[in-house]
């Protein structure tokens, strides 16, 4: 049993890789086999992520006594070979990613996976890149997984084609190529200064740098930070996002809602490891907090200004990134736990929202409204589009409009952060932690800025979403009651129900995340776990 379990941290990467490779080989006509394989892979990923989560709470003390799973991929000891590390944060992100993946996959079976070739393999590879980016403990390996997930996302972004989608994809690819080059320059510079790429080793060596070396290291970290902030959609590096996400097809856009969080995850991970030796400015409060607030304000203005529903959610994504950056940029550890809770709810809610909006768009009869331009952009509604064929549409759910309305209402509550859904729990705990964080009796200016920005952006979110809701549901003339497939409604319900579950079990989840935040604040256990992990075979011995 132990022999199998010790490979647990590798499985979230190996499973989608194998499934993706097999899916490329299987003919498109063998649809049932392909779908079965995809679902088996995603369900297994959920299972593995859950096992890793159990491991981090001390369920496998024989293998990993420190509750941090370390896996030496080439069986070389830590600073030399590539390591995979699954601590609490990584395990939470893995579980979140696989649940979102399951929902998007269910949704795509209704029609999107047949709107072009290679949807399923690319989807698996995207999951592989995401899982790898969460697990890796090596800086260059992080770059490689970023490229894997971006490569898959380029393909998925263009899925379904159409002029608007290709133009948006062109901009998306160009932005990400430039960011990848920055990432490479930063990584190379860090290697040049410290001589290591292992993150745990880096955390030790960064503290030993002095003088010019330290300044060069700071510069390298700043370049790296810019690359991560571009991925995390921080202002002013986020103009690519609303257009790209708005033009991607719905299940893809739903998975993309976790991709900006990968940038935040990388910032959080490196910031946590470098913290004891003095985090470089890019990962500390000096940059992240003002950028986060600026991102929030930009998102709030954008959400008020935009008219198209898909772009509106793009600005919601930006607002959630801004909230996270501002919260993580605050000094101290008190805000990290609530910020992680906010991350969970916002990813699930925005994923559901993207899929929901596509269904709602179907209620509008073709060319009936002022948004003729956006119809071209979202060529779903074009009756002549090859994406749309009537035989795909399946069993009609009665009261489809009621479902859509309720789901939209839930999503709006989640995004704006109103009770009773967990968006409220997240924002409330975030704000109360911000006001309690200062040592003195009066909260700092930064805390009040955060409170004001979060509340005002929430207000902007409510105004914009209720306006959109009124426009979508209460204009009686042209509404066509859509025929929803069970899979489409089911996937949105799955995400919303997991949000509601988060609200019900908010206490235990929050405790777990607070503990995670404490561990991030004291990265010594992470560093020790990585550096002390011994290879299975003795070095120099015969295999």
């Amino acid at each position: 049993m132990n022999g199998w379990l010790q490979h647990l941290p590798m499985l979230p990467i190996a499973t989608p890789l194998m499934a993706g490779a097999l899916l490329v080989l299987l003919k498109e006509s063998r649809r049932k086999t392909r779908l079965a394989l995809s679902f088996a892979s995603v369900l297994f990923q959920i299972f593995v992520a859950y096992q890793l989560l159990l491991m981090t709470t001390g369920h496998m003390p024989d293998l990993w006594p420190q509750n941090i799973a370390v896996y030496l991929v080439g069986d070389w000891p830590a600073p030399f070979g590539i390591v995979l590390v699954a601590d609490r944060l990584a395990a939470v992100m893995l579980l979140l990613c696989s649940i979102l993946g399951l929902a998007a996959l269910i949704y795509s079976t209704a029609r999107w996976e047949r709107a072009g070739v290679h949807f399923l393999p690319l989807f698996q590879l995207l999951l592989m890149g995401l899982n790898g980016a969460f697990l890796t403990g090596d800086l260059f390996n992080l770059f490689v997984f970023f490229e894997v997930l971006l490569g898959a996302s380029y393909g998925l972004m263009l899925h379904g084609t159409g002029e608007m989608r290709v133009t948006a994809g062109l901009h998306y690819i160009a932005t990400n190529l430039a960011a990848s080059f920055l990432l490479l320059i930063g990584i190379a510079l860090i290697y040049g200064v410290t001589g290591t790429l292992n993150m745990a080793d880096l955390a030790i060596r960064a503290g030993q740098l002095t003088g010019a070396d330290r300044r060069l290291f700071e510069a390298a970290a700043a370049i790296l930070g810019i690359a991560f902030l571009t991925k995390a959609a921080a202002w002013p590096l986020n103009f690519w996002l609303p257009n790209a996400y708005g033009h991607a097809c719905a299940p893809v856009a739903a998975v993309f809602s976790i991709m900006t969080k990968v940038g935040i995850y990388a910032l959080l991970r490196l910031g946590s490891l470098l913290l004891p030796t003095g985090a470089p400015a890019a990962f500390g409060g000096e940059w992240m907090f003002p950028l986060g607030v600026a991102t929030l304000i930009f998102g709030a203005i954008g959400i008020l200004a935009t008219q198209q529903a898909e772009r509106l959610i793009g600005y919601c994504v930006i607002m959630s990134s801004g909230t996270l950056l501002a919260a993580l940029g605050m000094p101290g550890v008190a805000l990290t736990g609530p910020a992680l809770f906010y991350l969970l709810t916002s990813v699930l809610a925005l994923g559901a929202f993207y899929m929901l909006i596509e269904m709602i768009e179907r209620t509008r009869s073709f060319g009936a409204d002022v948004l003729a331009v956006s119809l071209e952009a979202f060529d779903l509604d074009d009756p002549e589009s090859p994406d749309r064929s009537d035989d795909v549409v399946g069993v009609a759910i009665p009261a489809a409009m009621a479902f859509l309305g309720m789901a939209f209402f839930c999503c709006a509550l989640l995004v704006a952060g109103l009770p009773p859904l967990p968006g409220f729990v997240a924002k409330l705990s975030l704000l109360s932690a911000a006001l309690q964080t200062s040592a003195t009796d009066t909260p700092s200016l930064a805390a009040w800025t955060l409170v004001a920005a979060v509340l005002l952006s929430g207000l902007a979110g409510i105004i914009a979403l209720s306006r959109t809701g009124i426009r979508l549901f209460w204009t009686a003339e042209d509404i066509v009651v859509p025929r929803l497939r069970v899979s489409e409604a089911g996937s949105v319900s799955l995400l919303l129900l997991s949000c509601i579950a988060l609200a019900i079990w908010a206490g235990p989840v929050m405790d777990f995340l607070e503990e995670t935040a404490l561990l991030l604040d004291r990265p010594q256990s992470y560093i020790d776990a990585v550096m002390s992990h011994q290879p299975v075979r003795a070095l120099g011995g015969m295999p």
Partner: protein, 114 residues
Amino acid sequence: MEIILAIAIGVLTGSGVWLVLRPRTFQVIIGFSLLAYAVNLFIFSMGRLRVSAAPVIDKSGEIDPLLYTDPVPQALVLTAIVIGFATTALFLAVLLASRGFAGNDHVDGREADL
């Protein structure tokens, strides 16, 4: 040698950035290719410049680290070249698709209003 390499990286980066900011898709892709060259040279230089020193360690006998150059940046460059090549090729395909859809080679798919 350091000066020459630094100038080469600088010229490649400068030209690359300028081309990436141009409105024609072909200019953008050439710009990204130049940037990729510059980044690869930069990674390579991070292993410190050595002439006629092997990166692969000889198994027999005592090992004197002074005789060898750092192999890690060379491995990194190989990976970066492959990834850069793949993404540039993909960008080229998207560029052609965009040209086909829009009928022109502007990055926005339509000519700017002058």
